[in-house]
């Protein structure tokens, strides 16, 4: 198939948004090399987990083919997911994590390695507050933090108790990277179609989802949550014509076993590749940004959404108005943190 150029996307009115950092949209026809890593972190041992990240980078260096453009790691992979009141002990500032990743990469790849991008989930400390966050950074020469996403939908039900220990994020942003405009949603964030919709409306071409999904429902050949996540990510990708790169945490933590299943979904909702649910793995897959144009031309859902957005937004406003506004309640709804993550300022 003849490759379409980025220009063909523009008439659809979907993808281009002003790149605040001046970064360009992806060059046409140049595939983006992705590596989705899943591993079982050592509980509470940030150094050991940086070591596991270094092992993944070293494995990618040894692997045939060029080093990937973007390497994606799961939610809370620097510490393990269930850390309860120890969040403060394992949390890092985004700057500290960036520096550590920089050092880890230099050690694993040599000081003069080619720059690459990294997405990694971690517990973040910022100004005395704690978040379940994911960093997007370029590592290497002219490296920089490009974005920090803070999880909005803190799972707090059943086995989950996030909101007891961390504050929730407030914004969903798309941001420019050397490899296209991207957004990050963490785990339950991505279960909400409004969240993936906002990411897509803000111009994300690829949505990164660091996740930690404990396996349950063993009545069929694979855990039920694996099937559910596959469905959620496929529907979201097809609805908006975006790539979705999902990286799942691995390992048992206090009897709860996380189900890796890192996967790449194409903009038709097509499952391009998926890692096993119970073994360390690096899923390597190249994606061509021009596929977005093809998908959005064939299935112009996002364009249709934009056409109806004003009415839909009014309806959402009506619904919001019907619900009582939070006055004084828990930390998550009162102390509204209007600030964006530091690197976005």
């Amino acid at each position: 198939m003849k490759r379409r150029t980025q220009r063909l996307i523009k008439p659809l009115g979907l993808v281009p948004r002003p790149g605040r950092s001046g970064a360009r949209s992806p060059k046409s026809g140049r595939p983006i090399g992705l590596a989705l890593v899943q591993f079982a972190p050592v509980k509470g041992d940030v150094d050991a987990n940086l070591g596991a990240i270094g092992d993944a980078l070293a494995a990618l260096k040894r692997d045939a083919g060029p080093f990937p453009d973007v390497v994606v790691f799961p939610e809370a992979c620097l510490s393990g997911y269930f850390v309860e009141g120890a969040v403060r002990e394992v949390a890092l500032t985004s700057d500290n994590l960036f520096k550590s990743l920089h050092g880890t990469a230099a050690k694993a790849l040599g000081a003069s390695h080619r720059p690459f991008d990294i997405v990694a989930g971690f517990y973040e400390a910022d100004g005395g507050k704690l978040y379940n966050s994911a960093l997007y950074a370029t590592i290497g020469r002219s490296g920089a933090i490009r974005h920090v996403h803070r999880k909005l939908f803190l799972a707090t039900y059943g086995v989950f108790d996030e909101e007891r220990f961390v504050s929730r994020g407030r914004t969903i942003e798309a941001f420019d990277t050397p490899h296209g405009r991207a957004a990050i949603l963490i785990c339950e964030d991505a279960c909400h179609s409004l969240a993936t919709t906002i990411a897509a409306l803000r111009g994300a071409q690829i949505l990164y989802i660091p996740s930690a999904s404990p396996g349950r429902g063993l009545e069929d050949a694979e855990p039920a949550n694996v099937r559910l996540w596959r469905d959620i990510t496929r529907v979201a990708a097809a609805e908006h014509g975006i790539f979705i790169a999902y990286s799942g945490l691995l390992g048992f933590e206090g009897g709860k076993g996380f189900t890796g299943s890192s996967r790449l979904i194409g903009p038709f909702g097509d499952l391009r590749a998926e890692a096993p649910f119970d073994a360390p793995a690096i899923l390597r897959v190249d994606v061509d940004p021009v596929d977005l144009a093809a998908a959005r031309a064939a299935l112009p859902m996002l364009g249709d959404l934009e056409a109806n957005l004003a009415e839909l937004t009014a309806m959402l406003d009506d619904e919001a108005a019907l619900r009582p506004r939070p006055r004084r309640s828990n930390r998550s709804t009162v102390k509204v943190d209007r600030s964006k993550p530091s690197r976005r300022r």
Binding site: G85, G254, G257
Partner: protein, 285 residues
Amino acid sequence: MKTSYQIVRPAETSDDELRIDPALVERWLVRFLRDELVVARNIKKAVVGVSGGVDSAVVAFLCARALGPKNVLGVRMPYATSSPTSAKHGRLVIEETGIDDRVVDITAAVDGYLAQAPDAGAQRRGNVMARVRMIALFDQSAKIGGLPIGTGNKSERMFGYFTWHGDDSPPINPIGDLFKTQVWALARHLGVPRAIIEKPATADLIRGQTDEDDLGISYAQADRILSRLLSGHDVDDIIASGFVAKDVLLVKRRVDATHWKRHLATTAMISNTAINEFYLRPVDY
């Protein structure tokens, strides 16, 4: 022309809410044992109290597959009144799995204490046996640098049909979220000898005792009622769906009376650093 309609209904699906994929459950639990023992705790050996019943047989099979049979010690702990069938089936589990074997007769230890408690009835005597077995299991584990592995299933845990800090005490339990009927399904898949799967379940603390007599309901019925209760259905819903009211109420009463058995000790809170109230750290931290 009249339109001819085809009536479409949902495809027939299994209505068995207790259905498991035993191959997946085996794969899951083998990885659980390796991760929790070897990876998280750097312990390579497991100790299983082998009673001759299906629960401990399943756990022995799983441990043998997870760690290798020579890293698993099966401890058989008969009391004078234990049934010969239990002894025979215990030996069978050892032979089939190839795990190491150790017999610790608890008669002297139990009788040594009971000599000072001559008024103890059957329940107290049973509890003493269960707690002596716990002592032996932990001591055998200390001897080989291993960890005792739990064998309590979800049905008995929900019923509180166990001795608190006795048979529920091992720190790692692969089958505690499987109802008894699911344990039987897993046992068939693992190749546990049929004689062990098909005999009536018994704690074997009293001669002739069976679980289902003690509980007053079959596991087949109890597990379905338990499953629905745990999924949020209320008693009236469950009765309306075709279960006998007496059975549903019996299950509900047992569950409600034993929440305490599924917790550690109730501790008076004095400070804002109370352990497990304010001071919260996960078990594997």
